[in-house]
C-alpha cells in the first residue's frame, strides 16, 4: 500500500517517498541498501577512491535495461547532468550534499557538460568531488543518482517519460506493468533481465493508495492488502487484537517532528521568541512521552536531540549519533518546574506578564499532527500560566510558504533525513540557510558546520563527529528548535510475507529479498 499517489517516476521530478520507492523497485543505483541500510554494490561492481578522497571511479557490471540495451556509464552521465540542469527539489543532493564538481554552477546556469562526471568507457564512471565526502557511496542508493537511458529518453515526446509502462525503462528488480499518472493503483512485475534476477522471489507487487488508516486496517483484515501502514487508534486496536498484534511491525520512518520558533522582530509580539529562556520554557513544558504514547501511538520515539536517533551511526564506533537521548536533559526534557523557572526568567527579561502566540501546522500531514498540535497547546498552557497558544491549521504548502517568508510565530514542522549523516539535520541551522526558519544566527555554529563540510574536519572522521556533537549542543542549549518525536511506521504484514527491508532513510521499503509463502 501507499500513503499517497505516486507523483512522478522521473528521478528529476519525484520528491516523495512513495515515488522513490516505486522508482527504486524498477531502477538500480550504483549502490543499494542492505538490510541494515549500509551501502553495498548494485550496478557498480566495485569502486576506487583516489588518495585525496575526491575522485570516485565506479566499475559497472553487465546489466541491461528491459529494452535490451546495456546499462552504460553514459546513462549516469546523462541522468546526473539532467538533474543539475533542471535544478529541481533534489538537485541539491548533487551540489550541497554530494559536492560534485560543477554541480552548483550548473544549477545557476552553467553548461551541464562541465559537471565533474565522465564515462571513461562504457563500464567506467568517474565522479570528481570538490572536497572529500565521507558518506558519498551511501548517497548512491538515493534515486536522484539513478541512471536514465539517454537514447530512450530523447526518443520520447516531451513530457511523456515515466508516464506509462511504455515510456519507462527498468534496469532494476522489477519493471512497470500498469501505471498512469494519478492512478490509485499500480503494479510492477519481476524483471527477468535483472542482473540479480535469481535472488528476486516476488513475482510482482501491486500498490494501492489507501485513503485512511481505518480503511487500511479493514482492507488488511479482509485480506485485500498484505502490507499496510496504520496509525493512531488503529495501532491501539491492532495491539489489543490477539491475531493482528502478531502481524504488527514497527519500523523507523526517519523524519523528526519539531517546533521552530521565529526569532525575528516582526513576529511573536515583537520578537518575544528571540528570548532564549522563553523558548526553553516552551520546550521543557512539553510532555513528549505523552505525545507519542497517547496521540501518535504508532511506536514513534520521543526525541530530545536536534538530530533524531536511529539513522546516523558512526562508521568507526558503530554507535548511533543520538543514541543517548538524555545528553541535553538540562535544556530539553519534560519538567514543569524547570519550565516555569525559565518562564519566570523570560518574563523578567522581557518585562511582560503574558504571551499570545499562534502555532501553525499542516492539516494535510496526518491526523496525528492535528492531535499533537492540540495536545501541545494544552500542555504548554497548563504549565505556563499566562501563555496562550492559538492553533492555526493550513495546508502544508501554506505552512511552508509562511515559514519561508518568516510570517509565523511557532510552527510544527518536520524534516526527514536525505542521507545517513547527522549533517542532513545540522546543515539546516547555519545562518541564511533556506531551512533555518527561526532566522537564528550563531557564528560559532556556522564555523563548526563549515569545518565539517568543507574545512578542517573533512578528512578526520572522529573529529568531525565530535564537532557535529558540539554544534548540536549549541542548537539545544539555545532551544533553536524544540524536537518532539521521531516518526515510526506501524506496519501490518500478512503471515507468510517476509523479508521486506524497512529503512528510515531514502527508501522506506525495499522488496528485493521479500518472499511470499
Amino acid at each position: 500500500m501507499l500513503g499517497t499517489n505516486v507523483m512522478s517516476l522521473d528521478t528529476d521530478l519525484a520528491t516523495d517517498g512513495d515515488s522513490f520507492e516505486v522508482i527504486a523497485d524498477c531502477i538500480d543505483g550504483l549502490m543499494q541498501m542492505d538490510a541494515d541500510g549500509a551501502a553495498i554494490p548494485a550496478l557498480a561492481e566495485s569502486f576506487d577512491l583516489s588518495d585525496d578522497g575526491k575522485t570516485y571511479t565506479f566499475h559497472l557490471r553487465d546489466a541491461k535495461w528491459n529494452n535490451g540495451t546495456a546499462v552504460t556509464a553514459n546513462d549516469f552521465v546523462f541522468a546526473w547532468r539532467r538533474i543539475c540542469k533542471n535544478a529541481g527539489e533534489y538537485a541539491y543532493m548533487m551540489s550541497d550534499i554530494g559536492n560534485i564538481k560543477g554541480a552548483a554552477e550548473i544549477m545557476e546556469g552553467a553548461d551541464p557538460t562541465t559537471l565533474g562526471v565522465s564515462a571513461t568507457d562504457d563500464k567506467t564512471f568517474v565522479v570528481e568531488l570538490n572536497v572529500p565526502v565521507s558518506f558519498f557511496p551511501s548517497l548512491m542508493y538515493f534515486p536522484t543518482f539513478y541512471p536514465i537511458n539517454e537514447e530512450f529518453y530523447t526518443g520520447l515526446a516531451d513530457g511523456t517519460y515515466g508516464t506509462s509502462a511504455d515510456t519507462f525503462l527498468s534496469c532494476g528488480a522489477f519493471m512497470l506493468e500498469d501505471y498512469i499518472p494519478g492512478t490509485a493503483n499500480l503494479s510492477v512485475k519481476k524483471n527477468p533481465d535483472y542482473w540479480d534476477a535469481d535472488k528476486i522471489q516476488l513475482p510482482g507487487i501491486t500498490y494501492q493508495v489507501v485513503g485512511s488508516s481505518d480503511s487500511a486496517l479493514t482492507a488488511f483484515k479482509n485480506g485485500s492488502l498484505d502490507v499496510v501502514m496504520i496509525s493512531g487508534n488503529q495501532v491501539a486496536a491492532a495491539k489489543e487484537d490477539a491475531e493482528l498484534s502478531k502481524n504488527l511491525t514497527v519500523t523507523g520512518a526517519g523524519y523528526m517532528w519539531y517546533l521552530t520558533f521565529s526569532q525575528t522582530e516582526k513576529n511573536a509580539q515583537g520578537g518575544m521568541l528571540a528570548n532564549q529562556n522563553l523558548r526553553l520554557a516552551i520546550s521543557n513544558a512539553i510532555d513528549r512521552e505523552s505525545l507519542v504514547d497517547n496521540y501518535v501511538m504508532d511506536g514513534s520515539l520521543a526525541t530530545y536531540t536536534a538530530v533524531p536517533p536511529q539513522f546516523a551511526a558512526s562508521s568507526t564506533t558503530g554507535e548511533d549519533f543520538s543514541a543517548d537521548q538524555q545528553k541535553f536533559a538540562d535544556f530539553c526534557s519534560f519538567d514543569t518546574a524547570k519550565a516555569q523557572k525559565f518562564y519566570e526568567d523570560a518574563k523578567k527579561e522581557l518585562g511582560v506578564d503574558g504571551f499570545e502566540f499562534t502555532m501553525i501546522y499542516g492539516n494535510n500531514e496526518g491526523d496525528e499532527v492535528t492531535k499533537v498540535a492540540q495536545a501541545i497547546k494544552e500542555q504548554v498552557e497548563a504549565a505556563l500560566s499566562g501563555m496562550v497558544i492559538n492553533l492555526q491549521a493550513m495546508t502544508k504548502a501554506e505552512r511552508l510558504d509562511k515559514m519561508q517568508n518568516d510570517n509565523y510565530d511557532v510552527a510544527l514542522t518536520r524534516w526527514g533525513p536525505d542521507y545517513a549523516d547527522p549533517m542532513t539535520y545540522l546543515g539546516m541551522w547555519i545562518t541564511d540557510n533556506d531551512n533555518n526558519y527561526g532566522f537564528w544566527s550563531n557564528a560559532e555554529y556556522d564555523k563548526l558546520i563549515a569545518d565539517c563540510v568543507t574545512g578542517a574536519y573533512i578528512s578526520d572522521y572522529d573529529a568531525r563527529w565530535q564537532a557535529m556533537y558540539d554544534a548540536e549542543t549549541l542548537v539545544m542549549q539555545e532551544a533553536v528548535i524544540a524536537p518532539l518525536y521521531t516518526k515510526a511506521n506501524a506496519n501490518l504484514i500478512a503471515a507468510g510475507v517476509e523479508g521486506i527491508d524497512f529503512h528510515p532513510v531514502a527508501l522506506n521499503r525495499v522488496y528485493k529479498t521479500a518472499t511470499v509463502a
Binding site: 487508534n233 512521552e289 504514547d293 498540535a373
Partner: protein
C-alpha cells in the same frame, strides 16, 4: 360555528350535535381573520410542526446548557499520571455512566464516550451543535433573503435581466469554493466569520434556481396577468402574490441546504478555514469520528444523531409552515 337568531328561544351549543364523527368543533372562520393570523393558528395546531419545534428547542437548550453543566469543558483533556510518571489520557473510551469497574477512568461519566484526545464527547457534541445551529440559521437567512429574492426577480423580469443574473450565478458557482475561501482568508481572520462569508457567497444559488423555476411557471398564470393589467407594482406581484404560491419547493429546498451548509463548513477545513481547534462543529466531529469509524464506531454516532434530529425537527417545522401557508392542502 355559532349561529345567532333573534327569537325568543336562544339555542345553546348543546342543542346541536355532529352528524359525522368529524371533529370540527375547533373550526374557525378563516374569512374573518387576517392571512397571517390564520397561518399562525394553523401552524400552532399542526401536531407534527409542534413536535419538530420541540425537538429543535431541546437541541437549542442542550447546545446552550449542555457544555455549561458538564464537568468538563470542550477542550479539557482528561488524564492521570500513573506510578511510573507517565501520563495516561482517557482517549477512545466508549460511552459509560461512570459507575465504577476496571480501569483508571471507570468512575467518570462520559455519556457519549471520549474522543481521540481524551475529551468528553458529550460536551463537544453540544459545543459543536452550537456551531451547526448558527450555520443552520445563517443558511435559512441566506436562502430566504438572497436566494429567494434573486431567483424570483430574475425569473419574473426574464429576458436580459434574467440573462445577466443567471450568468452571474454561473460565475459565482464555477469558481471552486476552496479557491475563493483561501483568497478571502488573506484579507480576514480565519474562523466563524469567514465561514459565514463563504456560505454567503454560494449557498444562495440552489435556492435562487428553485425560486426562479417556480417564478417561470407561475408568472404565466392568469391571476398574475390580471394583477399586471390592474397596474400592480412588480415587487407587489413578486412578493405578495407569487411568493406564497412558490413556498412549497422553497421550504423543501431550504431544508436540504442546511445539512449541505453544515458539511461545507467541515469541507473548508481542507484549506484550514473553519472552526479553529480545539473548538469543534458537528461537521468536524463527524469527520474526526470518521477516522475511527470501524475501530471506535461510537465516536461518529452522537454528531450524526444530533444532526439528524435537528434536521428532522426543521423538516417538521418546514412542513408545518408549508401547509399553514397554503391551507388548501389540509382538510379545510
Amino acid at each position: 360555528m355559532a349561529a345567532t337568531t333573534a327569537t325568543t328561544y336562544e339555542p345553546t351549543k348543546e342543542d346541536f350535535e355532529f352528524l359525522a364523527g368529524r371533529d370540527i368543533t375547533t373550526d374557525q372562520n378563516f374569512a374573518s381573520q387576517s392571512y397571517w393570523k390564520g397561518v399562525a393558528i394553523h401552524f400552532l395546531r399542526d401536531k407534527r410542526a409542534m413536535i419538530g419545534f420541540g425537538i429543535v428547542l431541546v437541541i437549542i437548550i442542550f447546545a446552550i446548557f449542555g457544555p455549561i453543566f458538564s464537568s468538563y469543558s470542550y477542550r479539557d483533556i482528561v488524564s492521570y499520571v500513573d506510578e511510573s510518571g507517565k501520563e495516561v489520557v482517557a482517549r477512545g473510551i466508549a460511552p459509560q455512566l461512570g459507575l465504577g469497574g476496571d480501569g483508571p477512568f471507570a468512575d467518570r461519566m462520559f455519556l457519549f464516550g471520549t474522543d481521540d484526545l481524551g475529551r468528553d464527547l458529550w460536551t463537544r457534541t453540544w459545543q459543536g451543535a452550537r456551531v451547526s445551529l448558527i450555520i443552520a440559521f445563517v443558511t435559512i437567512f441566506i436562502d430566504m433573503i438572497i436566494g429567494m429574492s434573486y431567483g424570483l426577480i430574475s425569473g419574473y423580469f426574464g429576458g436580459a435581466v434574467d440573462n445577466i443574473m443567471q450568468r452571474i450565478v454561473e460565475v459565482a458557482n464555477s469558481v471552486p469554493r476552496l479557491v475563493i475561501v483561501s483568497v478571502l482568508a488573506i484579507f480576514m481572520p480565519k474562523g466563524m466569520g469567514l465561514v459565514i462569508v463563504a456560505l454567503l457567497l454560494t449557498e444562495w444559488i440552489g435556492m435562487s434556481k428553485i425560486a426562479r423555476a417556480e417564478m417561470l411557471r407561475i408568472k404565466e398564470q392568469e391571476y398574475v396577468l390580471a394583477s399586471r393589467t390592474l397596474g400592480a407594482h412588480s415587487m407587489h406581484i413578486i412578493f405578495k402574490q407569487i411568493l406564497p404560491n412558490t413556498i412549497g419547493p422553497i421550504i423543501t429546498q431550504m431544508m436540504f441546504s442546511i445539512p449541505t451548509a453544515i458539511f461545507t463548513e467541515a469541507f473548508l477545513s481542507f484549506v484550514g478555514v473553519g472552526i479553529m481547534l480545539p473548538q469543534c462543529s458537528i461537521g468536524s466531529l463527524i469527520e474526526s469520528g470518521f477516522n475511527n469509524i470501524t475501530t471506535l464506531p461510537y465516536q461518529i454516532l452522537p454528531p450524526i444523531i444530533v444532526l439528524a434530529l435537528q434536521m428532522l425537527g426543521f423538516n417538521f417545522i418546514g412542513d408545518g409552515f408549508r401547509e399553514a401557508l397554503a391551507p388548501k392542502l389540509e382538510d379545510m
